[in-house]
């Protein structure tokens, strides 16, 4: 009986994934392949993000409401690693800024040390405030020096000019660092303090990124980030892609005259180059996703993973066996956040532009959570499936909503006030729709579409 059940479960995931594949193929044939590849790429990135969250929630029951902030740290590191340094700005204020940050760090360190030595709290307070004032003074001077250098185009120090692939790792490390700090403070306390603290830190990261122009240009965005894949323009002239396109369209092309054929081919090369570039991205993202899933499954079947599961299934018993639960939770929280950071870096690399205002809690934190819950909390494949389903719905619910409005609109007069009322607001309904999906799944099928196997409830 149990084995039948298991077989059914394994088929269930295959069936769900192939169904999703068919839907994507259907859209590809009916709408466009660029659109489908766009959906697939962003789904893959979301899947990596969801995987990180799933590790935290499914392995340790840690509730991270700051996904947006960790993703933004990944994005920041893409700018800092891959952009070319702005030499004049570094010359003008680089050293001063470094010194200001050093003073700030020293102040914090001094405060912590004095506090540990049980020095009078008031003295510690005065020292910290004095240090803060000095830091702020130095900092304002340095940042205005940097921001004055060519503010229309630069106005920041740029990055290190290193290969963009390195920034993915650095993004993961940055997110891991932030997670370690937050986790250290809150993990020994009640479970919802972690949620509140992550909510706060993610908003603050976004505020810093938006307001500190010297850092990553603030709301002025950083465009033209280097890419790990060739540019479309370059691909349009490549011989072998031309060969492939000719082969695919040979039936159509043979009917045309020599000059028409060349013109037609040039026309066909444009979408083909876009598709090719997107495919390159897809393969990178897919490789990273598979690597992460394989690694996490290996880890879960190792002695370390057995400890994780033991703690998850029965915290009291595991703690009686001498397992350090707090340290375990901290490890998992850091690992999960690092994966979110990597995904955040991949996202900015894919966009080719860093837009701080694009970081909305709805798009990041909330949507990723819906993916994890719908896909099946605790199950890695589940969160991948959830990412595909929810991202597809998210993209397609825009056009569908508009279509519904138009259907209603065709029965109303042109420019009627109630039609305008709905058209203005229809995209906010996505919020209600996604929230309801999450609540319904949590209520009626807490395991999601692909529930985790042998989970004790």
């Amino acid at each position: 009986m149990n084995s039948i059940n298991n077989i059914w479960h394994s088929y269930k995931s295959i069936i769900s994934f192939s169904l999703m594949g068919f839907i994507l193929l259907f859209v590809g044939f009916n709408q466009s392949w660029t659109l489908v590849l766009g959906i697939i790429n962003l789904s893959l990135i979301s899947a990596i993000m969801a995987l990180g969250v799933n590790i935290q929630w499914g392995y340790a029951g840690l509730f991270n409401v700051g996904i947006m902030g960790f993703a933004a740290l990944g994005g920041v590191s893409v700018v800092l690693i891959s952009q070319q340094p702005v030499v004049e700005a570094v010359d003008a204020g680089g050293l001063k800024m470094f010194f200001a940050l050093l003073t700030g760090a020293a102040t914090i360190l001094l405060g912590v040390l004095l506090n540990r030595r049980n020095v009078n709290k008031w003295i510690v307070g005065v020292v910290v405030i004095l240090g803060y004032l000095i830091t702020r003074n130095l900092f304002t001077e340095a940042s205005s020096l940097i921001e004055d250098i060519n503010p229309g185009l630069e106005g920041y120090m740029g990055g290190f000019g290193l290969p963009v692939g390195l920034s993915w790792i650095v993004g993961g490390l940055a997110a891991a660092g932030a997670a370690w700090w937050i986790g250290k403070i809150t993990l020994s306390l009640r479970s919802d303090y972690l949620a509140i603290a992550t909510l706060g830190i993610s908003e603050i990261i976004i505020y810093v990124v938006k307001n500190e122009d010297w850092f990553v240009r603030g709301v002025k965005n950083v465009a033209g980030l280097p890419r790990p894949v060739p540019y479309e323009i370059a691909m349009q002239n490549s011989e072998w892609l031309r060969g492939i396109v000719t082969w695919f369209n040979r039936a159509d092309l043979e009917l045309l005259s020599q000059s028409d054929r060349l013109a037609q081919l040039t026309e066909l090369m444009k979408p083909a180059s876009v598709v090719f570039v997107k495919l390159c991205y897809s393969s990178i993202f897919l490789a990273i996703l598979i690597a992460l899933i394989v690694l996490s499954n290996l880890a879960l079947n190792s002695p370390w993973g057995r400890k994780v599961r033991a703690i998850r299934d029965n915290e009291v018993a595991a703690s009686a066996m001498g397992k350090n639960i707090k340290r375990q939770h901290l490890q998992i929280f850091v690992i999960g956040s690092a994966i979110v950071g990597i995904a955040g870096a991949l996202l900015v690399t894919y966009d080719g532009i860093f837009i701080p205002t694009g970081y909305q809690p709805l798009r990041f934190t909330f949507l990723i959570w819906v993916m994890v819950i719908v896909g099946g909390s605790g199950n890695n494949l589940g969160s991948v499936l959830g990412a595909f389903i929810i991202w597809f719905m998210w993209i397609q619910s825009g056009p569908i909503g508009l279509w519904v409005v138009e259907m209603i609109g065709s029965n109303m007069q042109e420019g009627s006030s109630s039609l305008e009322f709905i058209e203005d607001r229809v995209h906010y309904l996505r919020l209600v729709f996604m929230g309801s999906i999450m609540l319904v799944i949590m209520r009626f099928s807490p395991g999601g579409i692909l529930p985790e196997k042998n989970k004790e409830l």
């Binding site: 029951g61 509730f63 409401v65 803060y132 004032l133 702020r136 403070i185 809150t186 306390l189 009640r190 479970s191 919802d192 303090y193 949620a195 509140i196 603290a197 909510l199 706060g200 830190i201 908003e203 603050i204 505020y207 938006k210 307001n211 709805l362 909330f366 959570w369 819950i373 203005d424 607001r425 906010y428 309904l429 996505r430 919020l431 209600v432 729709f433 996604m434 929230g435 309801s436 999450m438 609540l439 949590m442 209520r443």
Partner: protein, 343 residues
Amino acid sequence: MSDSIDILNALALMTNFVILPALSYGSQLALGALAVTLVYSVLRFSNFAQADSMSFGTMIVILLSSYLISKGWIISGVPTALLVIPVAVIGMFAYLIAIDKLVYKHYRKIKAKSITIVMASIGVMFVTGGIVRFILTAKAQKFADGERFIFSVREFKAFTGMQQGIALKTSQFLTITIAILLVAFIFYFLQKTKTGKAMRAYSDNKELALLSGINPDKMVQITWLLVAVLTTIAGTLYGLDKGFAPQQYHLLLLPIFASVIVGGIGSPVGAIAGAFLVSFSEVLLTYAYKKFLMYLLPLSMHPNSLVQLIGTEYKYAISFVILVIVLLIKPTGLFKGKVIVDE
């Protein structure tokens, strides 16, 4: 500006730009924080939907009052928003009860972990926020009408002959008065009435309370009723003071949580103290002291810069820093709150 030291004008400046704004902001936070603390003590979860519920309540108020204004049914001098609050509270209560029936009740029944309910409340937060944005769009709007000031800066200056004036905005006056009355009522209710005592008993020891014949469903309903009153009034007062914008309301969540945790989660007195701590820190740290110091210091010592400790854009970070410091030093909060463990 005089070159002598002028304490009176400095105090007037401080009152106008720091004390009054901080008092009214603190009162608004306190009402929201009380609602969170109530939900936490009786229903045992941190309600992430609180800030968005406040914008929902304000939305009802805005809809009702704009209807009244369009009909011309107003009392001159009084903000119409105040007149419709009782009706809006009923609407808010109906919404909260509906959410409770549809969402939270199930988790109480299966005795889910509190973190699961927290997650559900985040779902509720986004649904509520979505409804508000669908109905009123995400744009900022003002809905205050009636007299803007109890007394304005010009009137104050003419009356006292001072350089610096103090203005008392109607919204500030209303906020502080209503908050005091409401808090007094809540405390009276919790301490003196039979239902209030039952509620405290239920929150202290659920099993014992059930044995003494306290009806749990009734406790839950009364909690949501109190939350509806607090939420609607807090939201309306905040909106009268600073205008209504869904995103701004959404961001109130962190200051509210910071207030609750600083004071000690589950402790009503703590929630109020925490709210004022947060509001005063926010206003004091982001205020530019240049003018204030110019009144107090001799001419030779006048500052050149704004003398602002933290840029206004980081006021959100202040509540977070307070939160972190409290979690590091005294996780139970200033007024020892209760620590609820999963059953």
